[in-house]
């Protein structure tokens, strides 16, 4: 039985909710703060994940790479004005070891374009690894596995 004490469960829920919030509220600069310095964040699809193909749509193995992605979105890349709305499920705890644990959480993300078009842009699951550092939970790893193998137009904002 994978058990996490109630305090940590609440902290996990808050952390995941805050992660979504900073992206949805256009506070992208805060997004890398959810990760440890050496971390792994990648976005892939269920088909690639199942087949063990590790090339990702987004790949970062340092907080610096995450910051670079934010800077590119702010200053370099061209994409039409859009915002996300994340809705998350409850985290399933997969494994607990000391001050680290792994979890899997469903997500649905709607994308709202400047035109008003609102679509269910992505659904999938976060396969996470966390470490408790002081009283904060930091991601050492987040693998975003999108259920669909198709992205509509482009993927600009992180999931």
């Amino acid at each position: 039985m994978k058990k996490l004490d109630i305090h940590l469960r609440l902290l996990l829920a808050e952390t995941q909710a805050n992660y979504s919030r900073v992206i949805d509220n256009d506070q992208l600069e805060n997004w890398p703060e959810f990760f440890e310095e050496r971390c792994l964040y990648r976005i892939t699809t269920a088909e690639n994940f199942r087949e063990g193909l590790s090339f990702s749509l987004v790949y970062a193995d340092s907080k610096g790479m995450l910051q670079d992605r934010v800077a590119a979105l702010r200053d370099a890349n061209i994409y039409e004005q859009q915002s996300y709305r994340h809705v998350l499920g409850t985290a399933c705890i997969l494994d607990v070891q000391g001050d680290t644990f792994r979890s899997e959480t469903s997500f649905m993300v709607a994308r709202v374009m400047r035109t008003g078009d609102t679509t269910l842009f992505a659904t999938g699951r976060y396969i996470d690894a966390y470490r408790l550092v002081s009283d904060k939970l930091l991601l050492t790893e987040r693998v975003v596995v999108c259920d669909s193998n198709t992205i509509d137009t482009l993927l600009a904002l992180p999931l």
Partner: protein
């Protein structure tokens, strides 16, 4: 082809032979789309199907599309690759229901009609009825009733198919100046698939095709490219367009050109900026093919590209989905010979391409901007005159020559 292809209703004016501008109705109309399916995708063209390494064992298959037509590509019992319409001869159901897999036999789920791996109809359930009653008519012959077969060819592990028996061999189709660039990437080491991704784009497929042949936009739209000196217009490079316009290759390589920043400043382009990376390890690369070329885009008419962006090797299959939509299928490649460090290098550089690519992201939305920008302007022509008005090869990449090449091939094959 003797039959007429039909008349496109006016307004449909496009000055004869003009390739330096395209009227926007070409990207908007259903009748043009229908003609493309017939003349191009089912015509004298080669269409990318898969890699031969995806179907190594007898019965291995890939289900893909040639234009709108679903196609089954399978490794036959004699070790050859066969391709035919993914359609039962009976009443039209799909034969393969997954994207890829292994078949012991090809049997339609609907009524059990069965096919050889070469695409011949070989079995009909209850063909002779039961107890002398029912069954197919006496004069029915299974020969000649099967899904249409494609001619299949393989070039450096890339499998192409055509519905035409008249299309030249693929080496001639590409042209002798372009062909070596396929082998440059695919011919020396053993390709392996690192990932497969798909995008649905809200634009006519030809807007994306133009983009793949457009060396002019690369360092302007894609700020990322330029600032990190992966691609600047002033790097050495060239564009080769084959004689009929149906294939091109654009190459560029690193050089120590001091006047680079000045050229961009004069033009007051967005491409001159002080954007700096916190973790530049992402861009660490190697001169993988030993010739200093770090960008290659090779395209083949109508809808295939083989590209190298530093060390991200990828295939793109462009599939039309009506006049205002398309599907873009990416296959990312590495090589069996990669060391773990080289493989990681490709993973990190992968941030540049695909739907979220620092470079490719813009290519995803720009087609839609064009489709929307040209709504209501069916009779207006685009301007494709950078570098001249012909589809010649060029030592400069400040040219739209390869785009004009596409239109030259298009007008010829479409009889438009």
């Amino acid at each position: 082809m003797n039959e007429t292809v039909g008349v496109i209703d006016p307004p449909s004016h496009w000055p004869s032979g003009k390739i330096s501008g395209v009227p926007y109705w070409v990207f908007q109309r259903e009748d043009v789309y229908a003609r493309e399916q017939k003349q191009l995708f089912r015509g004298n063209c080669w269409n990318f199907l898969c890699l031969d390494s995806e179907i190594t064992t007898i019965g291995d298959y890939v289900a893909t599309h040639v234009g709108d037509t679903p196609v089954l590509v399978i490794r036959g019992r004699d070790g050859e690759i066969y391709a035919f319409e993914n359609r039962c001869a009976h009443r039209g159901a799909l034969l393969a229901l997954k994207n890829r897999g292994q078949m012991k036999d090809i049997t339609c789920v609907y009524h059990g009609w069965s096919y050889s791996f070469e695409g011949d109809l070989v079995g009909i359930a209850f063909k002779d009825g039961i107890n002398g009653k029912g069954g197919m008519p006496q004069d029915f012959c299974m020969n000649g009733h099967g899904p249409k077969k494609l001619r299949v060819t393989t070039l450096h592990g890339l499998v192409f198919g055509s519905f035409s028996n008249d299309v030249p061999d693929i080496e001639e189709y590409l042209g002798k100046k372009v062909v070596p660039y396929v082998g440059r990437i695919m011919g020396k080491k053993t390709p392996v698939i690192l990932g497969r991704f798909s995008q649905t784009l809200p634009n006519n497929w030809k807007h994306y095709i133009e983009n793949t042949k457009d060396s002019y936009h690369a360092s302007i739209l894609h700020l990322f490219f330029n600032t990190f000196e992966i691609n600047r217009m002033s790097q050495r490079g060239e564009i080769i367009v084959n004689d009929w316009g149906g294939a091109h290759v654009s190459i560029s390589g690193t050089s120590g050109n001091g006047d680079v920043k000045a050229a961009y400043k004069t033009e007051q382009l967005r491409a001159d900026s002080n954007f700096g990376l916190k973790d530049p390890s992402m861009l660490k690369g190697m001169d993988e093919f030993g010739d200093g070329i770090n960008i290659q885009v090779l395209s083949l008419f109508p809808g295939f590209a083989l590209s190298q962006i530093q060390n991200v090797i990828h295939l793109r299959q462009i599939l039309p989905r009506g006049p205002e939509s398309m599907q873009l299928n990416w296959t990312i490649l590495g090589f069996d010979e990669d060391t773990p460090e080289q493989r990681l290098m490709r993973m990190r550089q992968g941030n540049m391409v695909g739907a979220a690519g620092f470079v490719s992201m813009e290519d995803g939305c720009i087609g839609g901007f064009v489709q929307r920008g040209t709504a209501g302007s069916s009779d207006v022509d685009s301007l494709i005159e950078m570098g001249g008005r012909e589809a010649d090869s060029s030592e400069s990449r400040v040219t739209e020559s390869a785009i004009r090449g596409f239109w030259k091939a298009y007008r010829r094959e479409m009889a438009l």
